[in-house]
Structures are given as structure tokens and as C-alpha cells.
């Protein structure tokens, strides 16, 4: 197998042959690693400010990022073929944890989201599902002709529906919607007909009012609050009013690092977790927020490039879905904090203080790198 032959292959322009780089040898994509580290460092800086310039949250988060990097490196070493072969089993195991959490999950504020094996580990099975669902769908379409036929679409929807329902019943509507989206991204990338996509969206819009009656009171409240936060300024609207105030008062260049009054005087709720971008907006202003958005879009763009360069259907669909899902997190979180989406408990990837999400995020990027660095020309 020579370079010349590869060059003549259809679509070879995308998978241009090149020398094995250092990155390939350690199975890492260096631009992506670089972007991840820059965003993480930026996030740690904001966290340091949001936490009142205490070192503990930064140390704790730093350790989690370090753990995430380790997970990423390990995940990158494993061949995508292994992921593909194991996909059904991983999926079944994931479903099993979701069922377990339904019965044995830790009940916090009326919902069961955490599974805890005492003394060993506690985690959110739904978090893992973010990777597992794209994995199983990529596996499902890998051996099938694309664009998918109607019955394949049907079965893939069933596959999506099972974990989505299980998570929705925890209840954790926000996460279930995002996981549903991660599955739908696979369908979209697999080439499902646009008219199906648009009619699904149409049905969704029409049935949205019906959904209202399915929602629980607190979920309805969040939507009402989005529409009119001033209706209850000290209650449900407080978070959103305070975060908008924090962001708006930041202006172009912000009040200066560590100078945010909204966050440091405790007006801003959840300033270290879900609402952390409000701290950034207040202290470093529009410039600071745009800088972060640029970093995110570069990271997503790199993910897109890796997806495109993947050499088989499984790799492409898996990488594309993981990349898009990552963006959904970014968009939903920032949209929520800036008051254009309802308040759902979604962290800002790589920046928000928190455990499980960091590990799954890095694992996801590890899988991307695995797909990218284990390329072979197979026909």
C-alpha cells in the first residue's frame, strides 16, 4: 500500500496522507489538547475569582481536570475497533445502570440521578449515556447502508427513546433532552432525509403545548420565569435577574478580574457552577465572553475536522455526535444564563465546577482522538 495509491482513492483529499506525528504516536491530537488545556486554564481562573479567590475550589477542580486528562489519554489509546465491538455491551451496561439508579439511586430534591456504590464510586449514569448513546447508534449504522432506511430510523429512534425515557423519569428533563439530541445528531449526520427532520420539528412545535401538561410545576415555573423574570424577583426570577445584571453590568471589558460585585456579594446564585459565565461576563466583560466563545468554536471546529477525517462510518458518526453534543452543552448553558433559554441544570463544559461532567467530557475527546490517531486505510 503506497502513498500514490491512496492519493487516487475517491475522497482522498480529505484523508490526505501524512507522516506519523508525535501526536499520532501517543494517540493524541495536539491542537485539540492545546485548546482543551487553554479553556480549562481559563475556566480555573474564572473559578478562582468566583470562589472568592480561595484556592480550594481551584485545587479540587484542577485535580478533576488532571483526572480528566488521564481518562482522555487512556481513552485515546484504545482502538476504535474495540469501542465498536464493545458498543452493544457498553450500551446494555449503561441501560442497566439507569435501571439501577431508578431503584437504588440517591434521592436528592425529589429526583434520583446518582448511583452510589459506597466506598467505591458515585456517579450519574445519565452522564455516561452522553457517550454511550452516540456509540451504540454509530455502531448500529456502521454496517448499514446510508442514508438510513425508514425502519432503521425507526429502530434507532427506539434505541434513543429507551435511555431518554429512563432519564426523564429520574426526573432529569434537561439531561434527557440533551442525550436525546446526541442521538438525533447521529441520525442527522447519517443522512436522514431533511423532510423527516423538518416534519419532526413541525410535530414538535405543534405538540409543544401538550408537553406543557406533562411538565412538573417547577419546570413550568422555569419557563414562566424565562418569559417574565420580574414576576417574582425574589423567588424564581432571582437567578436570572441577577445573572443578567451581572453580565450587563460588565460592559465591554468588565469590572476587572476579582472585582465583580454581583458574584462576590452573593447576589449571583450558583456562581461557581451553572452560572459561572455570568462571573466571567461581569469581570472580563464582552471581550472575555467572546474570547471564551472563540475558544469553544475552535474546539468544536477541531472536532468537526477530526470527524470528517475519520475513515469509517462508525468513527465519523461517533465523533460528529460527540462534538455537536459538546456544543449543545455550551449553548444551553450560556443561553440559560443570559436569559434566552429556561433554567435547566446544565454546567458550562470545562469551566463549571463539578465532577462527573469533566470526566465524561475528557473521555469523549479521548474517543475523538482515538478515532483520529488509529486511522488506517481500509477498503
Amino acid at each position: 500500500m503506497s502513498h500514490d495509491f491512496v492519493r487516487q482513492l475517491p475522497g482522498a483529499g480529505l484523508n490526505s496522507p501524512r507522516k506519523a506525528t508525535v501526536g499520532d504516536m501517543v494517540h493524541l491530537d495536539l491542537p485539540m489538547v492545546f485548546l482543551l488545556l487553554v479553556i480549562s486554564a481559563y475556566g480555573l481562573l474564572i473559578l478562582y475569582s468566583a470562589g472568592g479567590q480561595r484556592t480550594e475550589p481551584v485545587m479540587s477542580q484542577g485535580l478533576k481536570i488532571l483526572a480528566g486528562v488521564v481518562v482522555m489519554v487512556l481513552a485515546a489509546q484504545i482502538s476504535p475497533i474495540f469501542y465498536r465491538r464493545m458498543a452493544p455491551w457498553i450500551f446494555l451496561a449503561g441501560l442497566a445502570t439507569l435501571v439501577l439508579v431508578y431503584f437504588f439511586g440517591l434521592e436528592i430534591k425529589g429526583s434520583r440521578r446518582w448511583l452510589r456504590i459506597p466506598g467505591v464510586i458515585s456517579f450519574q449514569p445519565s452522564e455516561i449515556m452522553k457517550l454511550v448513546l452516540p456509540l451504540i447508534l454509530a455502531w448500529y449504522f456502521h454496517d448499514r447502508h446510508l442514508p438510513p432506511k425508514a425502519r432503521h430510523v425507526f429502530w434507532s429512534l427506539v434505541i434513543i427513546a429507551i435511555p431518554v425515557m429512563l432519564i426523564a423519569f429520574q426526573p432529569d428533563l434537561g439531561t434527557s433532552l440533551i442525550i436525546g439530541a446526541s442521538g438525533l445528531f447521529v441520525l442527522l449526520l447519517a443522512g436522514i432525509q431533511w423532510r423527516l427532520v423538518f416534519s419532526a420539528i413541525g410535530i414538535g412545535v405543534i405538540s409543544a403545548p401538550a408537553l406543557w401538561f406533562v411538565l412538573r410545576d417547577y419546570q413550568r415555573q422555569r419557563i414562566l420565569t424565562l418569559l417574565n423574570p420580574e414576576s417574582d424577583p425574589l423567588g424564581a426570577g432571582w437567578n436570572i435577574i441577577q445573572s443578567k445584571t451581572a453580565i450587563g453590568s460588565g460592559g465591554l471589558f468588565g469590572k476587572g478580574l476579582f472585582q465583580g460585585t454581583q458574584s462576590h456579594l452573593d447576589f449571583l446564585p450558583e456562581s461557581q457552577t451553572d452560572f459561572i459565565i455570568a462571573v466571567l461576563g461581569e469581570e472580563l466583560g464582552f471581550a472575555g465572553v467572546v474570547f471564551l466563545l472563540i475558544l469553544y468554536i475552535l474546539l468544536v471546529g477541531r472536532g468537526v475536522i477530526l470527524s470528517v477525517q475519520a475513515q469509517d462510518t462508525f468513527g465519523r458518526l461517533l465523533c460528529g455526535s460527540i462534538t455537536f453534543t459538546f456544543f449543545v452543552y455550551v449553548f444551553v448553558n450560556i443561553g440559560m444564563v443570559s436569559g434566552i433559554l429556561p433554567v435547566v441544570g446544565v454546567p458550562l463544559p470545562l469551566v463549571s465546577f463539578g465532577g462527573t461532567s469533566i470526566l465524561t467530557l475528557f473521555a469523549g475527546f479521548g474517543i475523538l482522538m482515538s478515532v483520529h490517531t488509529h486511522r488506517r486505510i481500509t477498503l
Binding site: 447502508h145 443522512g191 443578567k244 445584571t245 460592559g251 447576589f267 467572546v290 470528517v308
Partner: protein, 636 residues
């Protein structure tokens, strides 16, 4: 649709994928730009709005209430100061469950229903966000300790120290100084909320009310940075409050005490005035009450007992009580007779003990008609008519004068109008006239009405302050001094809307000498035999070693308030006449003029004169001889 190929077409699939992911990425970029636009809108377009909101959030302006001005008596004794009171307050914004918190507080401190009710009322009143609402006032150290144990369970509940009005002399000075009360809803509508920010009390009565603008002081402010829980993080800027002005009153707390002692436990009132200045030296109304009860909120039961008491302790008899003046106005009527020339010092009448208007059957009797049986005072001129208080002489004189002239002369001495500069509750009394009677009774004026007015009866009413003022003017030989509480400390005195009076001029010196000399004889003419001594001599004139001019009086009790429910004995007591005595001393250089009234006391000379003597002794001699005190106290 293209029939799928038997083999997987990798090129075809990767083309579809490429198309899809490029479209998807395009959507992501658009969404990102949407977020950028959103932040541009919030941070650039709406920046000013949110910057203001953010400042409002963290910067709170807190009022610093000024300390209320102090009130001193003429000797520098404190009559009203401010003492710390520990109040339990609740900041509703910081409490999630007010009901539960109140329940908890009730469990540990025991809240009364009316306290909770009052709290709910205060809570509904307009206030700034995060302003605390008082629940309990004047916590004891023990209550503070009990609360402290559970405090951590009740965020938003605090013990706040505030300075509140305190009256060190309590009941003694209440009717002289007045008092502050808690600002109620009616006040809240009337006052400037800015000036009263952080202030809970307002002068409601007396000096406290009249000088409220000066006593209040100016509110200060501090800009503080607070966190979302309302805790003050740092003070950014402050304007210190300006304390209220301190006032010095004419009143003499020791004289006030002497007056209270002289009244004993009888109901009555004393007003003493310094003729030189018009300054009120003492103003007593008994019974009184402890004004400190009202400062931090009185409970319903205590308040009801004060309000409904037959002795009306809340009522300031000295300025609100309106009584018939009785014989105390006789010197003025006499003066009118002399000045108009209708009588002279040599004008004598023969007093048979009664008087009859020409062509009328009704007999107007003299006061001693019953006592001496045989009849009246015999041959009487004005001097004797005053020192013996001869009614028939004044019946005759008043008919000669006619009501219009009587009114004119009485008005010169301030009767019928309020002349007190700084006593907002002072009443006008009543000087009946033809017009008044027509308007109020729909009847013409009869000569019989004039006869009654001539001896200070009928419809005529005066307040003890008015009478004391009239006597002051006599003591000053016509020079007017408006009665006043304030000695110094405020300009508001000059802005009083009380009636301004002119000094009485064009009255010859010998007329003043004659009238004052006659009043002197009321006290000093003695050892002249039965029916020839001054009416008060036997009671106060025997051992007096300064010259005093005086006049006694008795006022009929026109109506009995709240009387029907009480038993006969009390009712009888309440139907007895009021005893008056007016006096000034020393005669040649008057230092004090006063009016004393004992409700249902009986005869003025026996009952009221000793009280007057005791007060004058105290003021002029510095002490009250024990036998004078005992006579004054009605314990003879």
C-alpha cells in the same frame, strides 16, 4: 430514492456526512453568533441599565436617625433624654417563613396577640427593601439571652439597639413637657418620610409636639455595600445626622414637685408663671401618667384603663380643662368699673345678702347669705367687695357695666382666646357675648346673664392657664407677657399662631394700686373681726412674711361626665364645686403668679389658697414650712 447498492458506498457516505457536518457546523456558528449578539445586547447596548441595577443591588442607602434634642428645665435638670432600647426586629426579605419564625419566637419569648397584630400592621407599611420591622420593644437582658440561644435558627431576626425617648421624671413632668408616641399610620401620611427615615417616634403632645421640627434633628445617611442577605459589608460614604436642638424650658422641676406635693392626692391643676417673662414655672395636672409607657408602645389594657378612668389622667387640666372662673375675675370687673368711671373707690352699696334685677322676681344671692342668716356684707365698696368677695356688689356693678364692656375688659386679659405661644393643646375657654349667645343658643342676651358673668359664672369658661395669665397681667400692671414653655433653644417660639396681645395701657397707676391692694387684703387683712377679714387670711395670711395678692373663687360643676355609672357617694363628691385660688407675689416686685384649681375641692380660700401659699413659699423662700404643707395637703 436511489436503490441502495449491495455494497457499502464509502465515498457516497462520506460525502453525505461531509455535507451534513458542514451544514451542522454552520448552524453552530450561527448559534454562537446569536450568543455573541445576546451578550452584545446585554453588555454593550443595555450596559447602563444593568450597571445601575447592579449598583442598586449592592449599594444600599441606610438612614442614620438623629438623636432627638434634649429638654432641660431652667436649672439644667434633664426632663427628656434618650436611652437605648433593645428591640427585636425582623427583616421580611431575609425570612423564608415568617409564620414559622413568629411561632418560634412565641414559643421562647411569648408574644401577645396585639404585638403580632401591630407587627403585621407595621410590616404592611411602606418601607425600603431590607428595612427591618420591629416586633418587640425594650427587651430585657433575659429575653435577649433567651433569643440568642435560638438566634442561628432564625435568620433575619435581630436584636437592634435604638435610642428612644426617656422621661427621667416620669409622671411629674408629663403635662409640662408632653411626650412622643410611636408614628402611626395617620402620622405617616402627614410627615415627610425622608426626614423621618429611621425614626420611630414623633412628638405628639405639648412641647415635644410644638418643637418637633427642632427636636427631631436632621437625618443622616450612609451608603453601604451589602450582600444578598442584607449584611453590611462596608460603609462607602456617610453623612452624619445632625442631632436635634436641645431646649431649655422655663419650668422648674423642683417647683413642679412642690406643686404636686401641695396638691397631694387630690385632683387638680396648678399653673405658675414668671411675670417678668411669661415663662411657665410649673404646670401640673393631677392625676397624670407615666409618658414612658407610651414611648415603646403601651398594651391595650393599660391604655384602656388610662383612657377610661373617671379621673381622666391623659387630660391636661391646666390647658385643656375649661372651668367657670368664679370670683377670681372680680378684680378685673372692678378694674373695669373704675376705669370706665361708673364707680369710684368711694362708691358704696348696702348689701342685704341678695340682689334683684329691677322688675324681676328672681333673687341673686350672696355666697354668705346662708351662713350669716341675717344677710349680706353690709356697707361695701370695691375694696371690701374684693377682699370679702361680695357677690351683690358685683351683681350691681356688672349691670352697670353691661355685657359688652365686661367682655371688652376680660378680653384685655386674654380670656376667650389662646395666648399660649407653644402649647398646641391649649383651649380658648369661652367669653360669652351677645353674638355668641345668638349663634349658639338662638336666644337674646338677658340682663340676668350679665349678672352671672359678673361673678364668673354662667356660660363663661376659662382654662387655669388663662387665669394664671390674667393674674400675671395684673401683677405686671397691664404689661402683657405671652405664656410660654420655652426659655431658649428654638426660633419656633416666634412663629406661634397664638393670639398676640397688646399691653393694657392708659389705666392710671392708682387704679392698679387700688385693685392690687384689694387683692393683697384678701390674704393679709386680718384680726378685724367677723366678716371683716380677707377671705383667705384665716387660711394662709396669719404667718406670711412676704406680701401676696390673691383672689379665691368657686366654680359650679355644670355637668358630670361619665357620672351615671358611679355610686351615690362618688357622684356627690363629683358634684361639689371646684376651688380656685389665683395669686402673685411679692406684690411690689412679682416673681411668680399662679392659678390653682382643685376639682370638687369646695371653697377656694380654705382649699386652694393653702396650695397656692405652699407653692409661693417654695418659690420665694426655697422651702415650704411644714404646717403650710400640711394645710395645703388638706390634712389640717
Amino acid at each position: 430514492m436511489v436503490e441502495p447498492l449491495a455494497l457499502k458506498d464509502h465515498t457516497w457516505e462520506s460525502r453525505i456526512f461531509l455535507k451534513r457536518i458542514v451544514v451542522g457546523f454552520g448552524i453552530l456558528v450561527v448559534l454562537t453568533l446569536f450568543l455573541v449578539a445576546r451578550f452584545f445586547y446585554l453588555q454593550i447596548v443595555q450596559h447602563d441599565v444593568y450597571a445601575t441595577l447592579s449598583d442598586k443591588n449592592r449599594i444600599q442607602v441606610q438612614p442614620l436617625p438623629p438623636t432627638r434634642g434634649l429638654i432641660y428645665d431652667r436649672n439644667g435638670e434633664l426632663l427628656a433624654d434618650n436611652s437605648p432600647s433593645f428591640n427585636l426586629t425582623i427583616t421580611p426579605e431575609r425570612v423564608d417563613d415568617i409564620g414559622g419564625t413568629l411561632e418560634h419566637l412565641n414559643r421562647i419569648l411569648g408574644l401577645r396577640d396585639d404585638e403580632i397584630e401591630a407587627f403585621e400592621k407595621r410590616k404592611k407599611r411602606r418601607r425600603r427593601p431590607f428595612e427591618s420591622v420591629p416586633l418587640l420593644y425594650r427587651l430585657t437582658q433575659e429575653e435577649i439571652a433567651i433569643f440568642s440561644v435560638d438566634r442561628h435558627m432564625m435568620p433575619g431576626v435581630e436584636v437592634e439597639a435604638r435610642l428612644v425617648r426617656h422621661y427621667p421624671r416620669g409622671e411629674l413632668m408629663v403635662h409640662a413637657v408632653g411626650s412622643v408616641r410611636r408614628i402611626n399610620e395617620a402620622d405617616a401620611r402627614r410627615i415627610d418620610p425622608v426626614a423621618y427615615a429611621g425614626t420611630d417616634h414623633i412628638g405628639k403632645i405639648g412641647v415635644e409636639k410644638y418643637y418637633e421640627p427642632d427636636l427631631l434633628g436632621q437625618v443622616g445617611y450612609q451608603q453601604v455595600e451589602i450582600d444578598a442577605r442584607g449584611r453590611v459589608m462596608k460603609v462607602m460614604e456617610s453623612t452624619l445626622p445632625v442631632p436635634g436642638k436641645n431646649l431649655i424650658l422655663h419650668v422648674d422641676a423642683t417647683l413642679q414637685q412642690a406643686a404636686v406635693d401641695a396638691l397631694g392626692d387630690r385632683r387638680g391643676t396648678v399653673v405658675a408663671i414668671e411675670p417678668e417673662t411669661g415663662g411657665i414655672l410649673a404646670m401640673v395636672s393631677k392625676p397624670g401618667y407615666d409618658p414612658n409607657l407610651f414611648v415603646t408602645g403601651i398594651d391595650h389594657k393599660t391604655y384602656a384603663s388610662l383612657r377610661d378612668s373617671i379621673d381622666v389622667p391623659l387630660f391636661n387640666r391646666a390647658i385643656q380643662g375649661q372651668y367657670q372662673p368664679g370670683s377670681t375675675i372680680k378684680p378685673i370687673i372692678g378694674l373695669a368699673g373704675l376705669v370706665t368711671g361708673l364707680i369710684t373707690a368711694d362708691y358704696f352699696i348696702e348689701d342685704p345678702g341678695w340682689f334683684q334685677l329691677p322688675g324681676k322676681e328672681r333673687l341673686y344671692r350672696d355666697w354668705n347669705w346662708r351662713m350669716s342668716g341675717a344677710g349680706g356684707h353690709g356697707k361695701v365698696n370695691l375694696q371690701k367687695a374684693i377682699y370679702r368677695s361680695c357677690n351683690v356688689y358685683f351683681y350691681t356693678l356688672s349691670v352697670k357695666l353691661g355685657i359688652d364692656r365686661i367682655d371688652d375688659y376680660l378680653a384685655l386679659f386674654g380670656l376667650g382666646v389662646n395666648t399660649a405661644l407653644d402649647l398646641p393643646e391649649a383651649k380658648n375657654g369661652l367669653l360669652p357675648s351677645r353674638e355668641w349667645k345668638k349663634e349658639n343658643r338662638g336666644l337674646p342676651w338677658y340682663p340676668g346673664d350679665t349678672v352671672n358673668i359678673g361673678i364668673g359664672q354662667g356660660d363663661m369658661l376659662v382654662t387655669p392657664l388663662q387665669l394664671a395669665t390674667a393674674v400675671t397681667v395684673i401683677a405686671n400692671r397691664g404689661r402683657w407677657v405671652a405664656p410660654r414653655m420655652l426659655q431658649s433653644g428654638s426660633d419656633l417660639l416666634n412663629r406661634s399662631d397664638a393670639t398676640r396681645m397688646d399691653s393694657i395701657e392708659l389705666i392710671p397707676t392708682h387704679v392698679w394700686d387700688y385693685i392690687i391692694g384689694s387683692m393683697e387684703k384678701v390674704v393679709h387683712r386680718g384680726n378685724q373681726g367677723f366678716g371683716e377679714n380677707g377671705t383667705a387670711w384665716a387660711h394662709i395670711g396669719r404667718d406670711i412674711n412676704y406680701r401676696m395678692a390673691g383672689k379665691s373663687g368657686t366654680a359650679q360643676v355644670v355637668e358630670i361626665k361619665q357620672g351615671e355609672e358611679y355610686d351615690e357617694e362618688i357622684l356627690d363628691e363629683r358634684q361639689r364645686k371646684h376651688a380656685w385660688f389665683v395669686a402673685f407675689a411679692p406684690v411690689d416686685k412679682p416673681k411668680i403668679a399662679l392659678a390653682v384649681l382643685l376639682e370638687n375641692g369646695g371653697g377656694g380660700s380654705e382649699v386652694a389658697a393653702p396650695v397656692a401659699r405652699a407653692i409661693l413659699d417654695h418659690h420665694l423662700l426655697g422651702s415650704v414650712a411644714p404646717h403650710v404643707a400640711s394645710v395645703a395637703g388638706g390634712e389640717e
